[in-house]
Every structure is written in structure tokens, then in C-alpha cells.
């Protein structure tokens, strides 16, 4: 029964995505909507990304210092490990899990409220492809903003690690800088960006699907928002495993 329901849900998701991925009826309005979503979903997420990344960067640095400090270990290892964690997992996967909560619930409740107040029916009656009109600008906006958010996250995390080293004296900035530069592999940044772009698509499309298919009233919209965040998080973690395997081979 659960399997059958899952297949039905996936089929319905694909059918809606089929309508989403069609040519916009008016490019001018599509670009206007996309710019609005870039601001709503991307620019408005920058403060939380910077804040969380800064503190996580600092905490990773402290944990590394406390847990792997040894006379046999070079001092720059703390910086090296902090960089690797930020590049490989935090700034792509964990940051996207946080965004699934912020952006995902926002998208589901917005589209869900439009559904229960018949605004989507009004679009359909006018002859507007409502799925394309509402969802495609969100996907385009977050997918195009995500590389910027990843870069900001890496930069803020590194700044957090640097700040904790400098202001608490647990390690010298020089050791940290050596560690951050040690055996730097540019591909890791690309991996982070590629993964985050895929997760951006997951967050926007899955959250939009849950909002678009809401039936009922405000309670159902709330439930759909929760379901969307849970599904997005599970899909991000599952696809992270596959993407990491594919990209890091």
C-alpha cells in the first residue's frame, strides 16, 4: 500500500513537473517573477546562511583543535580538516538542509494558500499554465542563486574558523592559513556547487509539489509544509549519498 502510494505520488510529481518544464507563456512576466523569487528565496536567505556558516565554521575549528590535537599531528591539520568539512559537506548538504526548512516551508505555504483560496483555479480559468507560472520562476531563481549561497557559506565558515583562532588564541592564524591552503583541490568547490544546485532543484520542486496539490484548508496547508520539509530533507540526504559517491570517485 505504501509502495503504491509512493508510486502514485511520484507519478503525480512527474506530471506536474511536465507542466512546469514548458515554455513560459510570457517571457517578460517570467523574468519579472524570477527576479522577484531571486530576491525572496535567494537574497533573503543570505543573512541566515552567513550567520549559521560563520558559527559552524568556528565550532568545527574548536572541535578539531580539541579532538585531534596531538604532538604527532602537524598544527595545520585543524585548518585543513575545517576546510574539508566546509567544502565537502557543510556548505552544500547541511546548508541545503537548513534552506529546506526556511525556503521549502515558505514555498509550500505560499502555493498551498493560493490553492485553498482558489487563486490557482483563477489562473487556470484565465488560461494560464499555473504550474509553470508559479513553480518555474522559483526553481530558476533558487538554482541560479545557490552557487552564490555556497560560496558565501564557504567564505563565512572560513571566516568563523579564522576569527575563533585569532580571538581565543587556540591556534595561530598562520597555522590555520597553512591548513586551509594545504593540498587544496579546486574540484571540491565544484562538487559542493554541483550538489547544492541539485539540492536547490529538490527543495523548490518538491516543496512546490506539496503546495500545489494541497486539498482542504489551513490545517492541510500546515501539514503539507511539514511534509514538504521532511521529504526535502530525506531526499537531500539520500541524493547526497549518491552524488558524493559519483562525484568523489
Amino acid at each position: 500500500m505504501i509502495l503504491l502510494d509512493s508510486i502514485k505520488t511520484f507519478g503525480s510529481y512527474l506530471m506536474i513537473m511536465g507542466r512546469v518544464m514548458s515554455r513560459p507563456q510570457r517571457w517578460r512576466i517570467f523574468f519579472r517573477q524570477t527576479m522577484h523569487e531571486v530576491y525572496q528565496l535567494g537574497v533573503n536567505s543570505i543573512p541566515i546562511v552567513l550567520l549559521i556558516s560563520f558559527f559552524i565554521g568556528a565550532v568545527i575549528c574548536i572541535q578539531m583543535k580539541l579532538n585531534i590535537e596531538s604532538p604527532w599531528m602537524p598544527k595545520f591539520v585543524v585548518g585543513y580538516a575545517t576546510r574539508e568539512i566546509l567544502l565537502l559537506e557543510f556548505s552544500s548538504s547541511i546548508m541545503c538542509l537548513i534552506l529546506a526548512g526556511k525556503v521549502g516551508s515558505n514555498i509550500t505555504s505560499e502555493i498551498g494558500a493560493m490553492r485553498v483560496t482558489q487563486q490557482i483555479d483563477a489562473l487556470e480559468i484565465m488560461g494560464v499554465n499555473s504550474a509553470n507560472f508559479l513553480i518555474l520562476p522559483k526553481i530558476t531563481a533558487l538554482v541560479s542563486m545557490m552557487p552564490i549561497l555556497v560560496i558565501f557559506s564557504i567564505a563565512a565558515g572560513t571566516a568563523g574558523a579564522f576569527a575563533i583562532g585569532k580571538f581565543t588564541g587556540i591556534m595561530t592564524p598562520q597555522d590555520l592559513i597553512v591548513g586551509l591552503q594545504y593540498e587544496f583541490n579546486q574540484w571540491y568547490i565544484w562538487c559542493s556547487v554541483i550538489k547544492a544546485i541539485f539540492f536547490a532543484y529538490v527543495i523548490t520542486s518538491v516543496a512546490s509539489y506539496y503546495g500545489y496539490t494541497v486539498k482542504g484548508g489551513s490545517i492541510e496547508v500546515g501539514k503539507a509544509s511539514t511534509d514538504a520539509v521532511v521529504s526535502c530533507s530525506a531526499l537531500i540526504l539520500f541524493s547526497d549519498m549518491i552524488l558524493t559517491q559519483l562525484l568523489m570517485q
Partner: protein
């Protein structure tokens, strides 16, 4: 003119519309009345294409919507205006932007022409002063008027109103009714109104169909409805003791 021919609709094995046939002329305000759950909204959704009936035909000036391709349907929808029960104005837009929206999407007018047309529609519903307000700043009646302005922006041939007076006081309801009736006559469009407001029935019901249990029970005009001997319709019309007494009094006076 819209023709509905033997329309059947079921939900999970339960028949909601059982072979409804009716003709809705242009230039007249056509009303669908009936108790809650009688199938009024389902019939309207079948006519506008939000639901697909299992059997039957829906003809817009002879064009069968169920046989239409995707492109033809899209073109037909540009000839349709609809007023929803809760107005369904777009929250993210001002009143003026709401009215301009269908023009922005589908017309080939310049920006100034679209603006002029939208302002004209707002003036027609006496809402010009509220053009820069958001939907949440408007009263229920003003929201309905803004939704009517949006519905007529493209100059529709067919206008649908789903319970336009729900949640409104009698005076505001009268304004909305007269607006719908006036627009119907002015533009000679086919208007179908879904209602159970008896004031609307008496004020603007040029042509009325009464649904009960998914079937068409009675058809006529507001001039005929009070004198009908249809028992189910009479039970619906004179459901309160006061109305029954008024009718008996009127009959005695005659």
C-alpha cells in the same frame, strides 16, 4: 450561448450530476440554485472545464469543450471571466495589477493601453479610488467588485459567478447583483450565477434552473418561481416559517 447536454459526473461511485441538460442564453442572467450539496458548484466547474464530466456535452456557441484540443481550450478560456466565491484576488498584487494581469498575460496592447483598460474596468465597478490598495485592505464587497473588474478586463463572452453574495450584507449583495446584471446586458454576454441567495433570485434571475440531488428539478424565471407547484422547489424557497406565512398571506390576498 452555453448548452449543457446530459451531463453526468460521479465522485468515487457517487453520482453528483445525473444527466443535467440546460440552455443558458446570452444577454440574460442565468441562475443555478439549489441546496448545499445539490451539485451547483460541480455543474459550474464542469461547464468552465475545471472538472471533466463522465458523459454529456458542454457547448459554447456550438463548440463542444470536451472535443477541443489544448490550444482551442486555451483560446476559449480567454473568452471566459469568473468571479469566485472568495474573490480569489492575487495577494501579491495590488488591485490595479490584479485587473491588469489577464491583459499582461494575453493581450497585445501597449502598457498605456493596458493601464487605460484596467482603469476603465475599475471605474465600471466604482473602485477607481482603491487601485493601489492590496486585496487584504479591501472589504468583502470591494474584493468582489475588484474580482468582477478582473473578470471583465479581457472583454469576456461568458461570465461565471460562484456564489457572489456569500459573506456579504444584503445591501452590498444588491450592489453586486446589479453590477453582474448590468454588465450582462451592457456587453450582451452569457452569465451564469451559482447562488442560494433568494434576493438574487428575485432581483436578477432572468432564467433559473433548480437542482436537487444532482438532477434538474425546475426551470423558469423569477416571475414564475413564486407561483410554482413544484413541491421540492417550494420546500427550498419557503423553508422558513416566516416565508411560508408570507406566501399564504399573499395567496389569500389574491
Amino acid at each position: 450561448m452555453i448548452e449543457v447536454d446530459s451531463v453526468y459526473k460521479q465522485f468515487e461511485g457517487q453520482t453528483v450530476l445525473n444527466g443535467i441538460s440546460a440552455l443558458f442564453d446570452n444577454g440574460r442572467t442565468n441562475l443555478i440554485i439549489g441546496k448545499s450539496g445539490a451539485g451547483k458548484t460541480v455543474l459550474m466547474k464542469c461547464i468552465v472545464g475545471l472538472l471533466i464530466p463522465e458523459r454529456g456535452k458542454v457547448l459554447y456557441d456550438g463548440r463542444d469543450t470536451l472535443q477541443m484540443g489544448k490550444k482551442e481550450k486555451l483560446l476559449l478560456r480567454r473568452e471566459i471571466g469568473m468571479l469566485f466565491q472568495n474573490a480569489a484576488l492575487f495577494d501579491s498584487m495590488s488591485v490595479l495589477e490584479n485587473v491588469m494581469f489577464p491583459l499582461d498575460m494575453f493581450s497585445s496592447m501597449t502598457y498605456n493601453e493596458r493601464l487605460k483598460r484596467a482603469r476603465l474596468c475599475l471605474e465600471r465597478v466604482n473602485l477607481a479610488e482603491a487601485q493601489d490598495k492590496g486585496p487584504e485592505e479591501l472589504s468583502g464587497g470591494m474584493q468582489k467588485r475588484a474580482a468582477i473588474a478582473r473578470a471583465i478586463a479581457m472583454g469576456p463572452k461568458y461570465l461565471f459567478c460562484d456564489e457572489p453574495n456569500s459573506g456579504l450584507d444584503p445591501q452590498t449583495s444588491l450592489i453586486i447583483d446589479e453590477l453582474i446584471h448590468g454588465i450582462t446586458e451592457e456587453y450582451n454576454i452569457t452569465t451564469i450565477v451559482n447562488t442560494h441567495d433568494m434576493n438574487s433570485v428575485m432581483n436578477i434571475g432572468d432564467h433559473i434552473i433548480f437542482l436537487a440531488g444532482g438532477e434538474l428539478c425546475w426551470e423558469g424565471s423569477n416571475k414564475e418561481i413564486l407561483n410554482t407547484d413544484n413541491r421540492i422547489l417550494n420546500d427550498f424557497l419557503f423553508s422558513s416559517e416566516i416565508l411560508r406565512q408570507v406566501k399564504e398571506q399573499a395567496t389569500r390576498n389574491i
